[in-house]
C-alpha cells in the first residue's frame, strides 16, 4: 500500500467529513430559521443570550469558588434565590427603587455566603472533598426547605413586582425590552468590575495567588482565610444580582427557583472550564442560548430543558472534562 496515496485519500476523507459537518450545521440552522421564521429565530437567540448573561453571574461564583478551594458550592443557586427574595421584599414592602434593591440583595447574599463558608465549609477544608460536597448539598437543601416554611418565605409561588415599568421596542418584529438592556448592562458592568478587581488590584492578585498555591500564598503573608471568604463573598454578590435580574425577567419567585438555574450555571461553568472566568462567561452564554432554543424549537421542549442541560454536562465530561478553556491537570504520583 503506497503511503503517499493512502495519506492523500485519508486527508480527502477528513475534508469530506468536515464539509459534511459544515453543510449539516448550516442546513440545521436554516431549518431552524425557516421553522417559525427569522424573527422568531432571532428573538430566541436574543432571549437565550439574555438568559446566558444571568447564568454568567451565577456561574462566576461557582467557578471562582472552585478555583480557590476546589469545592462545588451546591448552595450557590439558593443564594441566588435569596437575592431575588430580598429584592422582592425591598421593592414590594418598602418601596425601594431598582438600584438600592439590587445593592441590598448583593449585600445580603454576600453576608449569607460568608456565614455559610465559615460555619459549614471552613471546618472541612482539610477533609476529603466528598465530605465538603455532601455538606454543600446539605446547606443547599437546608436553605431551600427552611425558607419554604410558612413563616419564612413560604413555599408559594410569589409574583414579583418589577421596580420599573417595562418598555418594549419593536425592531423589525423582534421585541427587545428595557429588561434585556438592563440585564446586559448590569451584567457587563459587574463583569468588568470583577475583571478589574482580579487583574488590577492587589486583592485580585492575592486571589489569583491563593487559587494557584495556598501554602505558598500563606508564606507570602497573604491572609488566605480572608481571601477565601472574600471569594465566596464576591461570588455571592454576583449571584444575588443575578437573582434580582432573573426575577425581573421572569417575575415569579419561589424558594426552589434556584435549583435549575444553579445547576445550569454550574454546567455552564464546567462547559467553559471550571476555574476559568472567561470560560464561565462563554459557557453561560452557550448554555442560556441552548436552554431557550430547546424551549423554542423542540416540540414539548419546556418539559425537556433540564434534560438537555445535563446531556451537555455528560458530553463535556466524556469529551473534555476540563472544558473549553480548561487545562488538563496531571496528578503527581
Amino acid at each position: 500500500m503506497n503511503n503517499a496515496i493512502t495519506r492523500t485519500t485519508l486527508r480527502g476523507i477528513v475534508w469530506a467529513i468536515y464539509a459534511a459537518l459544515g453543510v449539516g450545521i448550516v442546513w440545521g440552522v436554516v431549518q431552524l430559521v425557516q421553522m417559525n421564521g427569522p424573527v422568531y429565530f432571532v428573538q430566541s437567540v436574543i432571549d437565550g443570550l439574555r438568559l446566558g448573561f444571568v447564568y454568567a453571574l451565577i456561574a462566576l461564583g461557582y467557578t471562582m469558588v472552585y478555583g480557590i478551594v476546589r469545592l462545588i458550592n451546591f448552595a450557590h443557586g439558593d443564594v441566588f434565590m435569596v437575592g431575588a427574595f430580598t429584592s422582592f421584599y425591598a421593592i414590594s414592602q418598602y418601596g425601594w427603587g431598582f438600584v438600592p434593591a439590587i445593592v441590598l440583595a448583593m449585600v445580603v447574599c454576600l453576608v449569607l455566603n460568608v456565614v455559610i463558608e465559615r460555619v459549614a465549609y471552613k471546618p472541612l477544608r482539610n477533609a476529603p472533598r466528598i465530605a465538603a460536597l455532601i455538606t454543600a448539598i446539605g446547606v443547599s437543601f437546608f436553605l431551600e426547605y427552611f425558607t419554604a416554611l410558612k413563616w419564612v418565605f413560604s413555599a408559594d409561588y410569589i409574583t414579583y413586582r418589577r421596580p420599573f415599568d417595562v418598555v418594549v421596542w419593536n425592531i423589525k418584529g423582534v421585541l427587545i425590552t428595557n429588561i434585556t438592556i438592563i440585564i446586559v448592562g448590569v451584567t457587563t458592568f459587574l463583569l468588568l468590575l470583577l475583571t478589574f478587581i482580579i487583574n488590577k488590584t492587589k486583592v485580585g492578585k492575592a486571589m489569583r495567588a491563593t487559587a494557584n498555591d495556598k501554602p505558598a500564598s500563606r508564606l507570602m503573608g497573604i491572609n488566605v482565610d480572608a481571601i477565601i471568604s472574600l471569594t465566596f463573598a464576591i461570588g455571592a454578590a454576583l449571584a444575588g444580582a443575578g437573582g434580582v435580574l432573573y426575577a425581573i425577567a421572569f417575575p415569579q419567585i419561589w424558594t426552589f427557583m434556584g435549583i435549575m438555574p444553579g445547576l445550569k450555571a454550574f454546567v455552564a461553568a464546567v462547559l467553559g472550564g471550571i476555574g476559568n472566568i472567561l470560560g464561565a462567561f462563554v459557557g453561560s452564554l452557550l448554555m442560556g442560548t441552548v436552554d431557550v432554543m430547546v424551549v423554542s424549537f423542540v416540540p414539548g421542549g419546556s418539559r425537556f430543558r433540564d434534560l438537555f442541560a445535563f446531556l451537555i454536562l455528560i458530553i463535556v465530561f466524556l469529551v473534555k472534562p476540563t472544558g473549553i478553556f480548561g487545562e488538563t491537570q496531571i496528578e503527581k504520583v
Binding site: I72, I130, L133, G138, F141, F142, Y145, F146, I314
Partner: protein
C-alpha cells in the same frame, strides 16, 4: 496467636434474624401492630436493601454516586410494568407482553456488549489510532477514528437491535409455554419474583452502561454526573406517559398488584445481605475496597480498577432495583415525586449516618430512618413535610461536621464481621537481621 474457642459467627446472627422475622410476622398476623406499621416495617427492610447497595458503591468502593435513586426508579417502574400485565387487564395486550420485551431487551444489550468485547473493538481502535497517527496530523486522526468508531458501533448496535427482536420472539414462546403449564395459584408469586429479579437486573444493566463512561471521572465529578443521571431519570419519569401510557407520567402509575409481604421483603434483605457479605469478605471484596483506599496503589498491585468499579456499581444498582421493585408492590402505586433529587438523598444520609463501610450500620440506620420518619409523621402531622426536609440536612451537616465516620464507622456485628484468619502456627524463618529495630 491463640484464640479462645468461640461459636461460629453465623449462629447468633441467624438466630437474631429468625427472631426478627417471627416477631414481625406474629405481630402482623395477630394484629398487634396495625397494617400501616406493618407496611412501614417492610419499607424499612426495603430501604435497607437500597442503602446497602449505595454503601457498596460509596462506602466500600469509594465512588460517590448521587444517582442511586435513578436505579431505584428503574426497578420500581420496570417491575410494575411486568406485574401489571398479570392483572385483570394486561396493559400491553397479554400478560407476558412486558416481561418478554424486558427479557429480550436485557439479553440483547448483554449480547451487544459481548459483541463489542468479542470483536476487541477497544484494541481495534487502538491499532487504528496508532496506524493513522503515523501518517496524519492529530486532529485529522481524531476525526477519522471517531467517525470510523461511530460507524462500527452503529453496525454492532443495529445487529444487537435485530438480535433483540429475534430474542423476543423466542422469549415470548418460552414464557407462553411456561405460564401455560404453571398451576394457577403459582402464577402471581412467580410473576412477582420474576418482576423483582428483572427490576434488579434492569437496574444493574443500566448501572453498568452508565458507569462505562462515568466511572473514570474523579470523585466529585462522578457525583455531579450521576446526579445528572438521576435528574434525567426523574424528567423521563415525569414525561413517561409520552412513551408508555400506563406509566402515566407525572400523574403517577396505579394499579400495581400489592404483592410485597414481610416474608418477601425480609427474605430479599437476607439474600442481599448474604450476597454482599460474601462478596466483601473475599478477595474480590478486598480488591473493591482497595480502590477506595488508593486507586493508584491498587493499580500497582495488579487490580483492574475500572473492572472493580463497574462490579461495585452494577451490584449496587442491582440492589437498588430489587428494592425499588419491592417498593412498587408495597403500596400499589408509584409517583415520580418518590424519586426526586431530595428523596435520592435518603440512602446517602442513611449510609453516612450508619457508617460508610459498615453493613450493620447501614441496616440499623435504615430501620431507624424508616421508623423515625413515620414516627415524626405521627408526632407532628401539621407541617411534617415542611420540617422533615429541614431536619434532614441539619442532621446530615451535623454528622459531617462532628462525626464523619458515622455511628458504627466500619464496625460490624456477628456474621458480617471480618472473619479472623484460622488459628495456626506460622513458621518464622530464622534470618540474620530480619527482625530489625522497631521504633
Amino acid at each position: 496467636m491463640k484464640r479462645r474457642f468461640s461459636i461460629p459467627t453465623w449462629i447468633p446472627t441467624l438466630i437474631f434474624a429468625a427472631l426478627v422475622y417471627l416477631a414481625v410476622q406474629y405481630a402482623s398476623d395477630n394484629e398487634v401492630i396495625s397494617r400501616y406499621w406493618y407496611q412501614v416495617i417492610q419499607f424499612a427492610a426495603i430501604t435497607a436493601i437500597s442503602a446497602l447497595g449505595l454503601n457498596l458503591i460509596y462506602g466500600f468502593n469509594g465512588q460517590f454516586s448521587l444517582g442511586h435513586v435513578g436505579f431505584y426508579a428503574i426497578g420500581a417502574y420496570g417491575s410494575a410494568l411486568i406485574t401489571k400485565d398479570f392483572g385483570r387487564v394486561p396493559w400491553s395486550g397479554d400478560r407476558i407482553g412486558a416481561l418478554s420485551w424486558i427479557l429480550a431487551a436485557q439479553m440483547g444489550i448483554v449480547l451487544t456488549l459481548a459483541l463489542f468485547r468479542i470483536l476487541h473493538i477497544g484494541d481495534l481502535r487502538k491499532k487504528m489510532r496508532s496506524a493513522l497517527s503515523a501518517m496524519l496530523r492529530p486532529h485529522e486522526c481524531n476525526v477519522i477514528c471517531t467517525v470510523a468508531t461511530l460507524i462500527i458501533a452503529a453496525i454492532i448496535l443495529a445487529a444487537g437491535y435485530y438480535a433483540t427482536i429475534g430474542l423476543h420472539w423466542a422469549a415470548y414462546r418460552v414464557l407462553d409455554a411456561f405460564f401455560a403449564v404453571l398451576p394457577e395459584t403459582l402464577i402471581s408469586p412467580v410473576s412477582f419474583v420474576l418482576a423483582v429479579l428483572n427490576g434488579g437486573t434492569m437496574a444493574a444493566l443500566v448501572a453498568y452502561l452508565v458507569g462505562l463512561p462515568l466511572l473514570r471521572l474523579g470523585s466529585d465529578y462522578f457525583g455531579i454526573a450521576t446526579l445528572g443521571f438521576a435528574i434525567m431519570m426523574y424528567t423521563a419519569l415525569q414525561n413517561s406517559d409520552l412513551v408508555i401510557a400506563t406509566m402515566k407520567g407525572a400523574r403517577g402509575m396505579v394499579g400495581i398488584p400489592p404483592l410485597t409481604t414481610w416474608g418477601g421483603a425480609f427474605g430479599a434483605l437476607v439474600i442481599c445481605v448474604i450476597i454482599m457479605r460474601n462478596l466483601i469478605r473475599s478477595s474480590l471484596g478486598r480488591a473493591v475496597i482497595s480502590v477506595r483506599e488508593d486507586e493508584i496503589a491498587a493499580r500497582a498491585m495488579g487490580i483492574d480498577v475500572a473492572q472493580q468499579k463497574a462490579l461495585a456499581f452494577s451490584f449496587g444498582g442491582f440492589f437498588a432495583g430489587v428494592a425499588g421493585a419491592l417498593f412498587a408492590h408495597l403500596y400499589g402505586f408509584l409517583h415520580p415525586s418518590s424519586f426526586s433529587m431530595i428523596k435520592g438523598f435518603d440512602p446517602l444520609i442513611i449510609i453516612v449516618f450508619g457508617g460508610l463501610g459498615s453493613m450493620t450500620g447501614t441496616i440499623m440506620a435504615s430501620v431507624g430512618f424508616a421508623l423515625l420518619i413515620e414516627g415524626l409523621r405521627v408526632v407532628l402531622p401539621q407541617g411534617f413535610e415542611d420540617w422533615r426536609f429541614v431536619i434532614y440536612p441539619i442532621l446530615l451537616l451535623l454528622v459531617m461536621l462532628l462525626r464523619p465516620a458515622g455511628l458504627l464507622g466500619t464496625r460490624e456485628w456477628g456474621w458480617l464481621r471480618q472473619p479472623l484468619p484460622p488459628d495456626r502456627d506460622i513458621p518464622v524463618p530464622q534470618r540474620a537481621g530480619s527482625q530489625g529495630e522497631e521504633a
